[in-house]
Symmetry: C2
Subunit: 141 residues, 2 copies
DNA sequence: GCATTTTTTTAGAATCATTCTAAACTACCG
DNA sequence: CGGTAGTTTAGAATGATTCTAAAAAAATGC
């Protein structure tokens, strides 16, 4: 199974649809940012997004990048995640439960399908589980 | 097995010893802060530490709290950790590999002994594992 | 002990990520 | 059109953290 199967990419047309569905006007800025975040990036930070946007377009403000990721988050299209190795927030396109592999050499963060990781927890009495997330640190050949 | 068994507490005397062993002078400020962090707190943030310190002593600066947790971190006596639910760094006294349970009601973060959680990962070719950490979100009765 | 040197502490400034504000702009609607 | 609501924007504000440079304390050497 390829990596992409975890991240079904939306076409540019579908971006507009998703934005509208979420009650957001598909403005030119939102479409550009959302297309990058939802279709082309993996776990980007706001800085990553802004850098990409600046390289490909002109005049999109940092405030709009923040506004847009917040809007996408409220719409449930991305999740905000944090890791020990950075003080930045990363945005995860994959909003279904999954795990992560952090390549400690490159800093790359890779999704791991939940059925690739089996977790068996014997918790103390009275602890109920809502969600389990696993972070594996390692290296890729 | 009690929670404490995961966090062998050092006596106040041992704090001085640990600081010296790490090449740090056991100054009064460092002893106070380190005793709180290593013996009495669990996963405190700098804010938590400063608040506690201010309540029990006078004239210890925020800069010294930062300096001290950084010194403890360099000495390997604590680990810095971050979670999705907060933009603050938390300091973990338990420097051996272990997992965490986050009580989503109270925000409390509880250590889970690694032999209470079994993880079985089938990673793609070429990914080697250095470390696995599990975060369980849920509620305590 | 006292002078010298080194380490530590400190207040406040600086930085960095993020959020807020308020004004300019754009889209939609009657 | 003209009004209204939604959006973008620059820059200010905030909050966590780091830096700076000077004062204080501790160690060292006579
Ligand atoms: Mn990034
Ligand atoms: Mn705290
Ligand atoms: Zn992911
Ligand atoms: Zn812990």
């Amino acid at each position: 199974m390829s990596q992409e199967s975890l991240h079904p990419q939306l076409s540019s047309i579908e971006i507009e649809t998703e934005l509208k569905k979420a009650g957001l006007r598909p403005t030119v800025q939102r479409c550009i940012i959302s297309d990058y975040v939802l279709n082309h990036a993996e776990h980007p930070s706001v800085e990553t997004i802004k850098t990409w946007v600046d390289k490909h377009y002109t005049g999109i403000s940092l405030a709009t990048v923040y506004n847009t990721v917040h809007a996408l988050e409220s719409a449930g299209l991305v999740h905000a995640i944090r890791f020990d190795h950075s003080d930045k927030v990363f945005y995860d396109t994959n909003t279904t439960l999954h795990h992560h592999f952090l390549d400690e050499k490159t800093g790359e963060l890779i999704d791991i399908d939940p059925d690739k990781i089996e977790v068996n927890a014997k918790l103390p009495e009275g602890m109920s589980i809502n969600e389990i997330s696993v972070l594996i640190r390692g290296e890729r050949a």
